[in-house]
Amino acid sequence: MRIAGYRPRNTYLQRQLDRRWRHWLLWCAAGAAAMAVMLGGFVGPRQATVRLRYEIAQVKAEVDTLQRERRSLLLELEAATSPHTLAARAAELDLADVPPNRLLFLTAAGELVGQPAGSPAPPAPATGVD
């Protein structure tokens, strides 16, 4: 039977709040923390390795790119300074043929020598044909 407006006044009848959940929560938190520490212990170094590997890969990719560019530039330099290219662009590059009488040679004995003054007689027509 329910008596309207009745409120028990006896304090001993008032039920205490169940506070055991706090312990339970504490244990859960502690457990989670322990788990996190444990997982962190496992994952942390692995993460660092992965991060390092990623950075190494990035640097390697950059090095590869730079090496490719260097190689490409080297081949371009070869092409630009090729004897055929220089000969074709001689006028543009203001390059002139040096006549043999203006060339000097350094001998093995350390002497600087050149051709005698005056041009040699042009060769006479060939004797006979063949």
Partner: protein, 562 residues
Amino acid sequence: MLSPHRWRVLVACLASWAVLVWLRLGYVQVVSHRELAEAALRQREATLEVEEPRGDILSADGRILAGSLDRVSVYANPARIPRERWPELAAKLSPIIALEADEILRRLAAREKFFYLAKNLDPAVAEPIERLRTRGLGALPTQRRIHPHGPLAAAVLGFVNGEGVGQAGLEKAYDRTLAGTASVYRLLRDGKSIPTPLDLRLEHAGRPGLSLRLTLDTRIQAAVEEELAVTLATIGAHGASAVVMEPTTGAVLALASLPSYHPDAPGASPPETWRNRAVEDALEPGSSFKPIIVAAALAGGGFRPFDLVDCSGGGVQVAGVFLRDHASHGLLSVREVITRSSNSGSIRIAQRVSPAVLDGTIRDLGFGAPTGIELPGETRGLLHPPERWSALSRAGLALGQEVTVSPLQLARAYAAFANGGFLVEPRLVQATTDESGTVVTPARAGSPRRVLPPALAQQITAMLVAVVEEGTGKHASVPFYRTAGKTGTAQKAVDGVMRSGRHVAWFAGFLPLPQPRAVIVVCVDEPRANYWASEVAAPAFGRIAARLVTIMGLPPQEAVQL
């Protein structure tokens, strides 16, 4: 409540099932372990073969004649790409590979299986293509062979095909050395079976290709090619070739063959231009062969340089055939026979030398056999054994007509005159080196073989000097440098028959005397405007020699000290 009997049946069924499960487990885990493990690995792992870079070909002066650049090729497999995705993919791909979207769609529709959408692209395009994460579409690393000096020494270098395999020249001869071996990586596939770069593991380390360091000098090679081009432009000819070789070592400083091609795009030129004329062509040497005949006569024919030979009558009758000379010379010494290039004199000398001695000397000087140079397709030339000689054979040989030689063979023989009688082995490759430039395989050890007494080599050299100073080779002279050499104009045999109007003009010689540093052979095949060697090949020799002494820094012999 189940009866005990039913319990037993149930337990027996469950036990049987458990046993079957355990048996199957045992079968899977033990018996089929290997196949299943491999199948699982195949499913989740992919193999990536990365081609190691092909080695360079370097000149003696350190220039890169052929090198490789990293590139990528974009592939597509239309069967693995849903058709409804094509337009979207084409739109995204178009700016990456610089190809119109319509063209991409057309190519996808035209093929059913794997094909290359675009080749030789910058490696930077690989990343955006990978980001599309589309099965059946990707970028594969590849390489492109570059020849920075264009057609320079093309016939020596050769070229590679689309797969990077050598097809001609040194690229073919040294394909395995230059190519190296590929590295093999293992990587994981994602849920869509697309390979991801995560957990990339090297399974087999490849080896980058080794580089070849040649004996060729780019400056000399360029000079030789330019002067040959001048000859072709002024005289007009079917082709021309030249060899420049060190007489003491056999190191080839230049080996030119014109007309040439660009090895970056060999398909743009006719295949005939791919041939290395200096090594692969066997042509009649004409009078440039006379010094070899005279060497045989002096070595074993009882002749001396100043013995007189009757060169009158404007020719010689041999076996019922009258062989004409350029002129009636009267009595000439053996030396003058060479200087004036007398056909009658040469024939009369050859007729007095036994076939065995003649054949022996010719073969000793390297004719009738390949020189062994490191190039594919080398000719051995034509030289019949004495048993097959006819009554006209010695006369034919005396005129350089019943024999064919390559320009390289002739250079080798003249090197024997220049170096005091040793037959050298011509070589093009100085060494093979690794990426750091360290020598892996040194140059092939040449073993020069004495084939002529030193005095005889000197006598022939003196005759060849007279040819340049007084005889038919005056246009080959280089002011202030003593030069030796011999002209040769030969009629060309086509299908075994001498054809009038088809000639070969030669000049073979060396300089500077007394210690020659270079043997030069010039060969002009079927010259048009003028066919005489003294007017065609000798001037080309002279121009090449004049540039050579400057490049090599050889001081003039009548030099004045400053």
